[in-house]
Subunit: 324 residues, 2 copies
Amino acid sequence: MAGKPKLEDVARFAGVSPTTVSRVLNNRGAISDKTRRRVNDAIAQLNYHPNEIARSLFVSKTHFIGLVFPTTGHPFYGELIFQIENILSEKNYKVLICNTMDQAEKEKKYLDMLLANQVDGMIVGAHNIGIETYQRAHLPIVAIDRKVSDTIAVVSSDNYGGGRLATEDLLNQGLTKIIHINSVPCEEAPSSLQRRKGYEDVMKEHGLPFKTYELDYPFDREAKIQILSSIFAQNPAIDGMFISDDMTAAIALSMVRKMKRDIRIVGFDGTETVTTCVPELTTIVQPLRAMAQLAVDLLLKEINNEFDGIKKNYILPVTLRRGT
Amino acid sequence: MAGKPKLEDVARFAGVSPTTVSRVLNNRGAISDKTRRRVNDAIAQLNYHPNEIARSLFVSKTHFIGLVFPTTGHPFYGELIFQIENILSEKNYKVLICNTMDQAEKEKKYLDMLLANQVDGMIVGAHNIGIETYQRAHLPIVAIDRKVSDTIAVVSSDNYGGGRLATEDLLNQGLTKIIHINSVPCEEAPSSLQRRKGYEDVMKEHGLPFKTYELDYPFDREAKIQILSSIFAQNPAIDGMFISDDMTAAIALSMVRKMKRDIRIVGFDGTETVTTCVPELTTIVQPLRAMAQLAVDLLLKEINNEFDGIKKNYILPVTLRRGT
DNA sequence: ATGAAAGCGCTAACAG
DNA sequence: CTGTTAGCGCTTTCAT
């Protein structure tokens, strides 16, 4: 045998037609026990493995799902992608991964790639090109943490509630001079704006002054340290900080410890990774597992045309995890 | 137009043959400028996107690479996968991701899936089924951190050297009562054994007593805390620990701080994530980026039959990063 | 219960 | 420079 055996080889070996082999493979139609056995024997003998690509071409369904996220290297996305892939593989879907690195150009290239490879659907957590670009694909798509759209389901956690929860927790501890650190706002991903609004609303309701800083370069540690330093210098009297992501919060916590200042910090995300590395950090926990489950459920419903098509915006509750 | 336009539709629209369209698409053969323009116009008009699946079937090459790792949710693998995917996408390869969760059964299922989907090659960092199982695939494969094999290239960092480096660093600080914490040894992934040997060799060379603990459940935080507690209780006099992974080291560091004991800790991995979250942790840094680059280079060479086929075991140098 | 034939969308000889 | 033809490996009518 030169190359890999194909269905035709199995058929010849078993002395039946390709059709029959296909039927055995897919459990379709009626097959006599004897034939089935003979075919299965041949499959085993030849160590035959069906070519899913050929099958995909014929049935016009690949069972591929594209996952478009900034990077698997960030714990929030890494863990979310893990959950999503896990649930999808359970349902016999396969995952093509795309790390956009927050670059619009890469995101566009990936979108084309996924379409060219006939994915059955996509879950998009990146946010550098307009969601309209995706709509043109006329494909089942679920977005995570994106601007609400008429045609695309969006799953996110309760960012506004999380912002409130974090701020209230600091207030409950008797703190009053609380600042907020956030990323630069992004039109396509309003989640950080929601967190900010939660913080500012609570501060206003309590008649307290508030101040929000917007950090750029969300993935660069050195830059964060620089900027945090100057923020600490500018705010010698603060006693609390709500920082809208755990990685930055962890850095701030470590700086506070070194400066021996008395500042309480609440972060956001609550991934296993950061909780493990920085158990003393209080944080707002996003329900990663539930978000993944919901996103997959919605996507598969769209793919199978069972989508009721009414509700398009899903907000999942967050919880506060107190640092130890 | 009912479904997606296909190459034939473009041909008809442009008034040429399918072959010509294909040639324009793939820049093959000689095409008159006029024809090319007409075809490109048709492509744009119809918003045509080539079907890569059909193409793959014909050329018997998918440009798919399977990535088999325990989980994208762990920073080491999440960051490594990010690097690998990044380099591969640059070369127009696409990545199918598999989270084996340390389960042999899942790993086997994924292997079958990848073969069925005609991947051009695989990079394997999971280690629950024998590497021989992969050899049967007769496919270009590169392994990361696995038992050396005659037929499969293995990329790893200098685990033995890292173990030595970590231990020597503790000794250089005047510490002498140093224990080592490791995972349970695994036949297929000898890297932790190497780290252990590095530690034990150095201790022996200095005539010092040594003790290695083997932790199970490498990804479960609560279990780790339990076991670490009892280790701390059993060792009231230690002044140093070499812990063979950063996540566990971070937990230990946090416990040490709470107990106010004076114990220096050196971890292993040195991911961006953990370095960001726990900058005060001293650790042995694995060259993630270089490992990814080398693994991809080797894989693509095998795929393109440029593999010289001599050296099969690649060990990359580690560095020590001092905590701040 | 089984087989023959057509074709999923594309590309690569081979002609012209 | 362009078109005709055959076929990648599989599944599915439509016969028998």
